[in-house]
Symmetry: C2
Subunit: 384 residues, 2 copies
């Protein structure tokens, strides 16, 4: 069996579904292929939209991209919710970052200085100010920093809305595994599926996160993407325990607590180099609970609803791989690492532009999918 | 709709199903009623069969009963497995009890002295002997005690086999909730079900664990049974991490690790007075993982498969309520607290005797269901 489509999108997580939605809105025929839509990294993500709080040293290019995407979020959500009638749990809640010990706080404040040097808005909180903002945090915390501009969505709700939005706009969803890319004279012309069927497409978008590492690309192209396992804990308690997202450094280890408005709480996240192993590790559950309880003692009384693991698509510089990869018919949109949910609007808009006009946004230059690839270097060498 | 049966058994956990199996074997018609068979305390139990290790001071009568039941276990399992073709995971693995600190070990050894005074076989282990027996336990543990006679079953497998055994023997299983006992002239004559139907029976056996506390009994009889919440963690790892059940006292808190032969590990268990609340509490998960890792560091690397909670049917003296409760047509078989799986054979045999002959085993005198009931005292007073 053979289907034909303008665009084939490999992967139905937030990135793939948003690309499909945007492309279908521009009257392209779109097929999204995923054996289990929304079950990958999107299902384990906490949904923090935190360009400032997530910023680390030397990630200046990434900051510009995350700020751009954060700025697009309100309109993106409004449009998606009105198109689908679904709520994606978008909240402007701000982030409070707290230190457990003085040394944890000192590291946070150093980072805040760097962030302020980039003209970002970061407020320093004394211990007393922290207690006023979040009275149920552990007594004795030395202080923190506040970023009021951060917001959150609920990733499973976002997946559901994007799936509905893409479908309403005319995209087809095929719940199959991609076996391989179809290649004709060095050009990608669609995908072969595990059930023996195929989809031919003028453009094929790789949006399958860490699994892109397992895809054979033509021309010896290799994507510098690897799985970075993350575990999140999902709890339930009384609403109002926290009014902001709380991020903490506890004895040097990061932990975050993302409160939903109905009393649910997401605690995250580990960062493990464990290949494609998705099993939740007991030691990680222990450490996350220990550190979360250290910051918010009432965590101990909450119900543990579940543990989810996902594989972030990590890259050497923690920034995504976006755009062409030197192969006709192929577009890359993966490597979003910790920022997949945040970068969904800017990625979807940019890929739709690229599909429609043939040109990627100029701001994507630093995110060239081949920037780590020896193949790229060889080619450049052959041009000189 | 009305069914008629010689015996109605309320509750399809290990106790109710074993009673049904034994009664059906003696040619009684039996109906077992449970809205969700095997989903109560039986589903969360670890399956340790440990009359000696579970013994506490001043529980001498209970010890006789648990030793009796433990002695019946091998034949009980052989008969059940050959009747059903199912494996219940019965293993003679012995129990090693270890102390975390010297004071934990001192308490264990004091208890071992008491156990030895009752002619039970308990061996003292030095730190070096402990390491030889269980080399993967944390280095530096001060020592322990060994009870070679303890064994284990897998409760979900036992439930499945008992259900099959009871059915093969002719018992009927009705997946409904009991609304109330049917009472005619102070005699229990069956049960009314939540769906409006009824089952009439010459004898009705209360084997619904902690839920017996919610059952209205005739004649103002009250059962001194209450829910004692327990949580167990279910992990998976490489086989061979432990060859014995390991019980520990870690800074005064008890924890146990029950290894299955295929690498699974059950960690238990909390003991919480929380009414009928079945939600797993995050603080308990944390504490169990902390204490289990303290004893067996490789727990941190194991997969956390799930958390189960159950409600033990607790009584004031930690011993079951067995036999008549001063009401014709009514037999009580609950209150097994921490020993339900262990006490299954002796309970089922005794209830079947009582149903067949009208007389409970004489050894059950200490377990009179009304021994805590003020009603009993009033009646005796009126007889004098």
């Amino acid at each position: 069996m053979m289907r034909t489509s303008d665009v084939a999108v490999i992967g139905a997580g937030v990135i793939g579904l948003a690309v499909a939605w945007r492309a279908a809105q521009r009257d392209m025929t779109v097929t999204v292929i995923d054996p289990s839509p929304g079950s990958g990294a999107s299902s384990a993500a906490a949904g923090m939209l935190a360009p400032v709080t997530e910023l680390h040293y030397a990630e200046r290019d990434l900051l510009d991209l995350t700020l751009d995407s954060a700025a697009r979020y309100p309109e993106f959500v409004t449009e998606l919710e009105s198109a689908t009638g679904l709520d994606v749990g978008y909240r402007r809640c701000g982030t409070v970052s707290v230190g457990w010990m003085g040394s944890d706080l000192a590291a946070l404040r150093d980072l805040a200085e760097f962030q302020r040097a980039l003209a970002l808005t970061v407020e320093t909180l004394t211990a007393a100010e922290l207690r006023r903002l979040e009275p149920l945090l552990a007594p004795g915390l030395p202080g923190g920093v506040l970023v009021t501009g951060d917001h959150q969505v609920e990733p499973p709700a976002l997946v559901a809305a994007l799936r509905t939005g893409a479908t309403f706009a005319g995209a087809q969803l095929v719940e199959q595994r991609v076996a391989s890319l179809r290649v004709d004279s060095e050009t990608v012309v669609g995908v072969d599926l595990a059930d023996g069927s195929a989809i031919t497409a003028g453009e094929t978008v790789v949006a399958c996160g860490a699994w892109a590492a397992l895809l054979d690309l033509p021309g010896d192209v290799e994507l510098a993407v690897r799985p970075v396992k993350g575990q999140t804990l999902h709890l339930s308690g009384d609403p109002g325990a926290l009014s902001h997202v709380v991020r903490g450094e506890v004895r040097g280890a990061p932990v975050y607590l993302v409160p939903r408005s109905d009393g649910r709480l997401v605690i995250g996240a580990s960062s493990e180099e464990a290949g494609f192993d998705l099993r939740p590790r007991a030691g990680v559950v222990h450490d996350l609970l220990r550190d979360a309880q250290a910051l918010l003692p009432s965590v101990a009384e909450m119900e543990l609803v579940g543990v989810r693991t996902g594989l972030r698509p990590g890259t050497p510089d923690n920034s995504p791989l976006l755009g062409r990869a030197g192969v006709d018919g192929l577009v890359i949109a993966t490597g979003h690492h910790r920022n997949g949910v945040l970068l969904t609007p800017v990625t979807a808009d940019g890929v739709a532009d690229l599909l429609e006009t043939g040109t990627a946004p100029t701001a994507w230059k630093p995110f060239d999918p081949l920037r780590f690839s020896p193949v790229r270097v060889d080619r450049e060498a052959s041009w000189s």
